[in-house]
């Protein structure tokens, strides 16, 4: 029987204590793994969306709110800009690509984003088209829409399906449904792994038409005059890709000075958001997880130490049978190492399994696509560090067993 098999047998022999210790380690590791994986992937996902556009212009208000509403389809918009502002900057020599967006309605909680056909010409970081059609075509008529992959999978909408938009950006019971303006699906986008998968893209003119008809109705009821619709046409935000990122601040300043709105750089805003809100929260979570792990490995230490104390006679017998001090130390050390290794593997499965279970809901709610089984470099280092903690926790009882004098523990009777 090998020393490793003996160590395993001793662990199994005191199965309840071993199980409790494993549970402690697994919970700590699961917490750390989940937090680190979420942190890594949220950073990736946030930056994946944030780098889509160099600049976003919108109505006056919070820059973060502007980014969240126009890039991540999460918050309320800050306000509108005249469509003429878009027309003015559209042909600026610094602009590589730009598109206006108009918000106002949703379908089952998915925002209907009014834009223009060339929105889909948006290049990715390598200059290739960012959007790919899974099936169908880009919209051509006013009330045709192209739906994101997440919208398609969760609403079961498909090509040529017809639906009605609901007023507002979130699904609210009793909200007004625009039954006079049916949308027809002309295309379904391939998954992008960004918040764009949760959007329904239609024409900006459809957004205008629906809301101008509402205005006309309200004006008729109130008896007030209706403004010339073309004069008041607006965009919720204008998205820009510039020829070089170095032009961002210059262009942002210019937009701020020459319009009634604001312009902000998504990457900067998201970084600020992460540093001011997300990072401190993650630090708190990581601190709690680290405390759990410290307690877990202290338990490993205590379990092994107590086990070695209780097994003093067994250890003495093994020595009497000819076992070397180093073999005894290895036996105790390996027991601890096995506990730590199994605990870490269980924790890893628990943490990432939990992410896998929650990933679909997370994607449906936020469009944040989690790859639950992906292990980042930071997480690998953390796991390695935890393994090292396990080894250190096992080392002390092993050293104690190494130093033990067998004759004292045998307590031979005379």
């Amino acid at each position: 029987m090998s020393l490793t098999a003996m160590a395993w047998r001793y662990l199994r022999f005191r199965w309840f204590v071993s199980l409790l210790t494993l549970f402690g380690i697994a919970i700590g590791v699961a917490l750390v793994s989940a937090v680190l994986a979420l942190r890594h992937q949220s950073e990736q996902a946030f930056s994946k969306d944030a780098v889509l556009y160099d600049l976003v212009a919108g109505g006056k208000g919070s820059p973060l709110q502007l980014i969240l509403s126009s890039v991540y389809h999460l918050d309320s918009p800050t306000g509108n800009l005249p469509y003429s502002d878009y027309q003015r900057f559209q042909h600026d020599s610094r602009v590589l690509w730009s598109a206006p967006i108009g918000l106002g309605d949703n379908y089952k909680g998915y925002r209907i984003v009014g834009t223009e056909v060339h929105f889909f010409d948006l290049p990715d970081q390598d200059g290739k088209p960012f959007f790919q059609l899974a099936r169908g075509r880009i919209f051509e008529d006013t009330f045709e829409v192209v739906i994101g992959s997440q919208v398609a999978s969760s609403t079961s909408l498909d090509l040529d399906d017809v639906f009605f938009g609901t007023h507002g950006l979130v699904e609210v019971p009793g909200a007004e449904i625009h039954r006079d303006f049916p949308y027809r699906v002309s295309g379904v986008l391939a998954p992008t792994g960004t918040a764009q998968d949760r959007a329904i893209f239609g024409t900006l003119s459809s957004v205008w038409e629906i809301h101008e008809s509402e205005d006309r109705l309200h004006s008729a009821i109130l008896g007030s005059a209706v403004l010339e619709s073309r004069q008041k046409r607006e965009a919720t935000a204008i998205l820009f890709r510039l020829k070089t990122p170095g032009l961002r601040l210059w262009m942002a300043d210019e937009i701020r000075n020459s319009t009634q709105g604001i312009a902000t750089v998504p990457v900067n805003e998201i970084l600020r958001f992460q540093r001011s809100i997300i990072d401190p929260l993650q630090r708190i979570l990581l601190s709690i997880s680290a405390a759990v792990i410290v307690v877990a490995f202290l338990t490993v230490f205590l379990t092994l130490y107590q086990a070695a104390e209780r097994r003093r006679q067994d250890i003495a017998i093994l020595r009497a049978l000819g076992a070397l001090r180093s073999e005894i130390a290895f036996l105790v050390f390996f027991e601890g190492l096995m506990l730590a290794a199994i605990g870490i593997i269980l924790g890893l499965l628990l943490g990432h399994g939990g992410l896998a279970l929650g990933s679909e809901t997370l994607y449906a709610k936020t469009g944040f696509l989690v790859h639950p089984w992906e292990i980042s470099k930071t997480e690998s280092f953390a796991l390695l560090a935890m393994g090292l903690c396990g080894a250190i926790a096992s080392l002390f009882p092993a050293i104690t067993s190494y130093r033990r004098t067998p004759i004292l523990d045998l307590q031979l009777n005379e």
Binding site: M1, M6, R9, Y10, R12, F13, Q313, D314, I317, L318, R319, A320, L321, G322, A323, L324, R325, S326, E327, P406, I407, L410, L412, N413, E414
Partner: protein
Amino acid sequence: MIRLNKVSLRLGNASRSSSVQFDLPNFEAAQGEKVALIGPSGCGKSTLLNLVAGLYRADAGKIQVAGSNLPTLTPAQLDRHRGAHCGMVFQTFRLLTPFTAVENVAIGLRFGSRKGMDVQTKAREVLRRVGLSNRLHARPNQLSVGERQRVAIARAIAGGPSILLADEPTGSLDPKTGREIFRLLLEIAEADNCTLLMVTHDLTLASELPNRFDCSKLVKTNKNEDGKEANSA
């Protein structure tokens, strides 16, 4: 085979004057000799046994066991020497509780530097020899006390040691079982031509061994500061 000459050993806490001094002028046992170590409790019988096993290191003197001078061996060499040449049997059996009978014997074989041996086959064979062929996979708590001592004997003899050191092997057994165990130990020692050193308080059993060594004058108890006798070894 075993020769101890002018061996001395101080046991206990010397600084608190509660130590005992073990002095053995001379002890010899030839190959295959069977010796009963007798004497009152605390007289040094087990100490002598443990000196032969190399579990105690003498402060002075020569201890020749199976061709090696024990005081000159390193701790690791001592452990391996013990595993290779000495089989130990204890009063309270000292079986490893998580392991079955056959595993207890196999573990005994593992540490004896007996390379190339089919440990499992040997362990089964030895258990059959002590009459436990039907209890191979029983754990210590499933065995009777007599069976436990048989497993302990199997473990001690499995590696084919040249010396059997038995410390009151019948001390925890009823007289009938004790006699059976004593007979078994003796038969095995005779069959394998082992040197047997057996500590016992049972003078009837001791009288059945060809040689007896009286240990009653090996230990001197030091007086502590109050002039009272300190604890014996």
